[in-house]
Amino acid sequence: MATPKELSDFLAAIERRAFKQTAYAVRDDHAALDIVQDAMMKLADKYGAQPASEFPMLFQRILQNTMRDYWRRQKVRNLWTTLLSSFGGSADDNEDRDPLDTIDVGDDSEEPSVQIARSQTIALIERALEKLPTRQREAFVLRYWEEMDVAETAEIMGCSDGSVKTHCSRAVHALALELRKQGLDKLGLSNAILNGPR
């Protein structure tokens, strides 16, 4: 059984990554914070008695499920909003809002040229990551960012190992292409992968 300290250490180690991953998925910082908090509470509530070594898998699964719940609720809310707005006349505040605008690109650095270039690169990557289909992003995040193996990723995503490999491969290809389009060739992109047979 895990001690409170073990849980605290685990949560402290993953909370930032978890927040960023959620923010890329839901594109709303406040919602992302709520989702991460929910996931933390659920982990403590239901799986606090599990050994600490199982926390990474359990937490990722809870986080993915909580995100799905959020999307489900959003879907229902959007449906009601659409229905009610169709009765209520004009919807002035329903302008085309680009979710990419919410990304915080600014950085209060002191070394302008290097820091700005780096910040812009990260912003581009974040945008590219947000553009990925949900399953591809999930696979990429779990496999590469959370450093889980294919089997663990497959278990969390509820699909086969082959699907995980396919999702990961497509995600990396899509990211590489997107970054190439933006003129970022410094990330190890090569023609082999960009123009490969797949």
Binding site: L7, Q37, M40, Y144
Partner: protein, 150 residues
């Protein structure tokens, strides 16, 4: 045949190269994303710390509750321990528990009804048998009218 094998080997090699390149790109991207994750605003960090402490608080209170239950059990207060166990079971099966309570209430209601009807019949039988008048007199309409007039 030999050319096919060479072609297959080349494809395998190409795939493994691609996999390596994919890994390289992915790791480069993840490094950048990781560095971004370390630059969260103070507001976000405070909120995450709050969430973490709430979760830890929940675990600590659960531990305390569990320890309390074990203590009760050790002291021989098994009734409370069983109560806790059943309470947990009913909490997990809320619909079943609700149905059970409704069934018990209905059964109690019918049992009370049945008992009170039997009791009334017994009382009226005893009254009729102990009365000075024969039981037929009460069924006679003329007798009732005579009673009213007198």
């Amino acid at each position: 045949m030999k050319t096919d094998k060479i072609r297959h080997d080349n494809i395998d090699q190409q795939i493994s190269v691609d996999a390596n390149v994919e890994d390289q790109i992915a790791h480069n991207i993840v490094d950048l994303l990781d560095s971004r994750a370390q630059e969260l605003s103070d507001e976000h960090l405070v909120r995450l710390a709050e969430a973490r402490s709430l979760a830890i608080g929940r675990l600590v209170s659960q531990d305390a509750q569990l320890a309390g239950n074990h203590r009760l059990h050790r002291n021989g207060n098994t009734l409370q321990w069983f109560g806790g166990r059943f309470g947990h079971y009913f909490e997990q099966h809320r619909i079943f528990s609700t149905l059970l309570v409704v069934c018990v209430m209905l059964l109690t209601f019918f049992a009370v009804q049945q008992f009170s009807i039997n009791h009334q019949i017994e009382n009226s039988d005893a009254f009729l048998l102990a009365s000075d008048l024969p039981p037929e007199a009460y069924a006679d309409k003329g007798f009732t009218a005579w009673l009213d007039t007198n």
